[in-house]
Symmetry: C2
Subunit: 253 residues, 2 copies
């Protein structure tokens, strides 16, 4: 059925993760799906690409309306491989996720799930990322089900303006208070290293951290929405120009 939407799906938790497989099952009844996802977890890869190593792609599933591939690259590599090698027609939407963990606020800078939709939008396609604020491997995605199809169809119907995408975060909850369109909250990661000692004596560091809110009272942010039980939709721009600074800088430089 050529009139069914055609979706390109990837993630950063890898092709076997619960989140992407829940997404596949939720969207399969209503759309044809091409899934190209990392062959192992790639959290925190942001928009990293792999120019220095060969990329290997392996078919995992090939069924009517669903093809799934595993790739040894990053989330962005997966989208590039799909676009250049595997897409059968122009996708109506690129979908990232469902991520196991929070991609609101500054987390989006490091997020491989946001890498997927950033790359999708840079390639010229509408794109939407889904994340659940629950990092556990057996996170319960059931409460998201009615939202996923609805939001996918709305995103397709809207068509996103060029160089934008959507970042949707769900709080960990059985029911949601509603949906809020938000701006990205300002926050800062702190206490990000823990020093350990190898049995042979060398020190090494684990990257960890705590995220400190810089504007906890602001009610228009994604963090506020999530903290109050709402699904947070953050429209995201891929034009990073700080337009407000152009005139100021012109006077200085």
């Amino acid at each position: 059925m050529a009139s069914r939407p055609y979706l390109l799906i990837s993630n950063d938790d890898g092709v076997t993760a619960g989140g992407i497989n829940f997404l596949i099952e939720a969207l399969r009844p209503v759309a044809d799906l091409l899934v190209v996802a990392p062959d192992s977890p790639r959290s925190g890869q942001g928009c990293a690409i792999t120019p220095t190593h060969p990329l290997i792609v392996r078919e995992v599933r090939n069924e009517p309306g669903l093809r799934v591939y595993a790739c040894n690259g990053t989330p962005v590599d997966c989208v590039k491989v799909a676009v250049n090698e595997l897409l059968e027609r122009r996708p109506d939407l690129v979908v990232g996720g469902i991520n196991h963990g929070d991609n609101s606020s500054v987390n989006c800078h490091y997020s491989g799930t946001m890498g997927v939709v950033t790359e999708g939008a840079l390639q010229g396609y509408p794109a939407i990322a889904f994340s659940l604020c629950d990092q556990s491997a057996d996170a319960d995605f059931t409460p998201l089900r009615p939202y996923l199809v609805d939001m996918v169809f709305k995103a397709i119907a809207m068509g996103m303006p060029p160089f934008t995408c959507l970042n949707v975060n769900f709080p960990k909850a059985e029911k949601f208070a509603g949906v809020k369109v938000c701006r990205m909250a300002k926050s800062r990661w702190e206490r990000e290293t823990v020093r350990c000692r190898h049995p042979y004596g060398q020190d090494y560091l684990w990257l960890v951290g705590e995220c400190r809110e810089l504007e906890p009272e602001a009610e228009d942010t994604d963090r506020w929405a999530l903290a109050h039980g709402y699904v947070a939709i953050t429209p995201t721009s891929l034009d990073y120009t700080a337009y407000g600074l152009i005139d100021i800088l012109q006077a200085s430089f």
Copy 2:
């Protein structure tokens, strides 16, 4: 001399690259430097972090006014390690580069050099990235010398607004036509995979590509400036909210 500026420097080409060592020698006469850079090339790492492997840090140089460390992590990891483990006082500026290669337009999404300054700004420090549009290992950085100190001091004097940083790209030239403050040009990478065959028969892909300008006539972009011999300064925002979409989405979702 406590009144000398204190700069945190990193890059993505690695601690032995020509660009970062040229930067060190150019800035050393005027500032105290802490350098924490990847122990090997990490181009295209964007804002990737390494939450899943131990980070190892090795002292490379320890001289008056200059400490240099190599780290087995990404450019962003290097900044996080510096901030959490190595800084002796608050840095006046975080400096990325000098990158061997163009980080204008959409290249900034994938750039580890931009990862350095993105992370610096997310940590609350003013930050400036330098890139030369010459990927070769023996690129000639000499024409940049008078600009580096000048721009570093201007960036410190301005103090950057929170959640912003500067992306400076130099064209490959012996002399520059001037300096232009620009917006990020819209462009798109295309033809990004080349298929090869391993001697044992398996296909693999190399990530390559050509960058197509989407607005070559626009005279206010970084690409235009570089193509016409100017140094391009692109003020960059780390608040990725697409504010113009908030009202539109509120009506739909």
